[in-house]
Symmetry: C2
Subunit: 385 residues, 2 copies
């Protein structure tokens, strides 16, 4: 179960012909009774047409539907690209009998190419006709948005009080700070207004989607949307709703980490004892993006010297002599020098935990990343994406 | 010719036994009559013992000698590591009949291991005995400092007025912003005082050693030193000297770019039309460090969409609709959209030139980088460095 888990939602995923013979168009519809919505988007200055459109329509914090396509990012496509996005929203609105202002658009794929509208627009009609609230429909939608992903990523939680949150996400490369270059649609049947929903989404993404960093590449198309139908009739507290939304988001982010391009390792980098959470995040990201650390971990090498190098070049408060570095539970560096032989740390498994204790303050953050493998180089040098 | 090109210098390179059976210890000696010197060092907060030592002895801007070793960075080795560096300088001073305060120390290799002093110290004596001013001695020194480098990197220029500048450098990985994780020793027989020498070195490194960026990894050991013997008896203007020092530095940096770990491409990224030089440098570095750009270039793919993505995530002033992106002379992106089919740009050769014109101001900068290849992953996952 994912986006159709909560009551009041239907979904569809079809092969519109944008990508030859593969599912490439998804539709998620909120049948209400309410239509509160919120979204967070890429911080890249180069924003794709669907991002510009969706930011605009979300000003009212109401959405009836989200249409998503893979096979083309519709980024760097000029005014014509924006017209294509607008036409897509209009077609969805027509098919649903609503206004385009209630339709968000998301796209993913190669930057710089116009979308084949002659395939996409009829695909919208086909998708609208096949909408239903089954689990299969949710999976079809989650599948249609994939690019280099290995498979769909879905999650759903049901609260004992009778409301639930579901969602899917895609993202396997260009996974980066400030939204992990990915698309995600979350749905809930809780009763919640747009302002609360927006606050909950920002709280949830800050510690989940914003904390996966595979290659530092913030995409032009990142978007996380949440739609609330109110169909359960239950109004949770804003705080509890945010907690549960964070749980679903964290689940999807973990799935993206495990499915990242060419990844052979799932690496959690925790920085604690920092003077601020921002410092902890900054250090975690520098380590996550460091190619020398990432390649060493691909080789299962507990090369803490490279980690120390990365800590030292981060823009953050660090006292070199206080820093402790541990990998998989073994402290390798402390007090300005080696604390144990690197052979004491076994990094041969898939999961690697790196803990940096700065011993300066009370703040901490965890960044999820992966290793840098031959598979990553292969996929990104051979595949135009 | 390199460090022994200018009059007043002797050099040596020997196999001290730090690395099994390979040259690993270099010595460069200034026989005067003058001993002005200057140095610039890594900006990493984690500084190796030899960096801490050399920064200290350079306060007086005078050096008689530089001793360099490969086979160990002597970084993150605590007070004992610093004592090892001090002992190395003392041994050089004894052998030359001078004070340790006149001896800079540089180390490169694996972080976090103590140096084998029982091999290193007798190696100093051997090196001191084999010092001479021949071209071969300079090449021996340039060779002894290599780690994963393919070969020695040397340069020398002779001014018509009778003075010259020579130098060698090493560095093939961890090549990064703010000194390209490398060691370099430059020598000159010009008559120049320490203050002028320091200004010239900072001017030269700012646009050369500081503008190569292969993987964003600023090392713990970066150092560029320049020693002036005054043996030519000729005093050039500070401005002219800085220009010539820049020429030699640029030559060495180009050699490092061509020899970077696993590199199959030499990529020059020029950002122009920026509102400031800092903005141009920042954008150039984000592109240089972007794995998605680097892997696309490894595949000879003119994937300008990834370049646009990287421009958009840089902390710099950018107007997306004004940006122009050209690769090897072909403008692929302009006016917010595609300007030519990517097939128009041929990136199959070794040399790739990327030009970003922001059309916002008058400032420009060029960053040298390489592609991200299987060779890089192989070398850095299999080799503990």
């Amino acid at each position: 179960m994912s986006v159709t888990g909560p009551a009041g939602f239907r979904a569809a995923g079809v092969a519109a012909g944008i990508k030859a013979g593969r599912p490439d168009l998804a539709l998620v519809v909120n049948d209400g009774p309410q239509d509160a919505a919120a979204g967070v988007f890429t911080t890249n200055k180069v924003k794709a047409a669907p991002v510009l459109w969706s930011q605009q329509v979300l000003r009212e914090r109401r959405l009836r539907a989200v249409v998503l396509n893979s096979g083309g990012a519709n980024a760097c496509t000029g005014p014509e690209g924006f017209q294509d996005t607008h036409a897509t929203a209009e077609r969805v609105a027509e098919a649903l009998g609503t206004g385009a202002i209630g339709v968000a658009v998301c796209s993913t794929g190669l930057i710089g190419q116009r979308l084949p509208m002659e395939a996409l627009l009829p695909g919208v009609d086909t998708a609208a006709k096949s909408l239903d609230s089954s689990e299969r429909a949710a999976t079809d939608a989650a599948t249609a948005v994939l690019t280099t992903d290995g498979g769909p990523k879905q999650a759903c939680v049901s609260h004992p009080d009778g409301w639930s949150i579901g969602g899917f996400a895609k993202g396997a490369g260009m996974l980066a700070p400030n939204l992990a270059t990915m698309l995600s649609v979350l749905t809930t049947d809780a009763v919640i207004d747009g302002t609360e929903l927006d606050a909950a989404l920002r709280a949830a993404t800050r510690t989940t989607f914003d904390r996966i960093d595979v290659d530092g590449g913030t995409s032009t198309n990142d978007a996380v949307l949440v739609l609330a139908s109110g169909a359960s009739g239950v109004r949770p507290s804003g705080e509890e709703f945010a907690e549960w939304l964070t749980t679903v988001s964290a689940d999807l982010v973990r799935q993206m980490q495990h499915d990242a391009e060419g990844a052979t390792k799932a690496i959690d980098i925790t920085v604690r004892g920092a003077v601020s959470e921002d410092d902890a995040v900054r250090i975690g990201r520098v380590i996550a993006e460091d190619n020398l650390v990432s390649t060493a971990l691909f080789g299962s090498d507990p090369n803490w010297g490279r980690i120390a190098m990365a800590v030292g070049r981060a823009q953050a408060e660090v006292d070199v002599d206080k820093v402790e570095i541990a990998t998989n539970g073994v402290t390798l560096y402390a007090g300005g020098t080696r604390a144990a032989d690197r052979s004491a740390a076994d990094l041969s498994g898939r999961d690697i935990e790196i803990v940096i204790d700065l011993h300066l303050g009370e703040h901490a953050a965890t960044i999820l990343t992966t290793d840098l493998s031959h598979g990553y180089v292969e996929e990104n040098s051979a595949y135009s994406s």
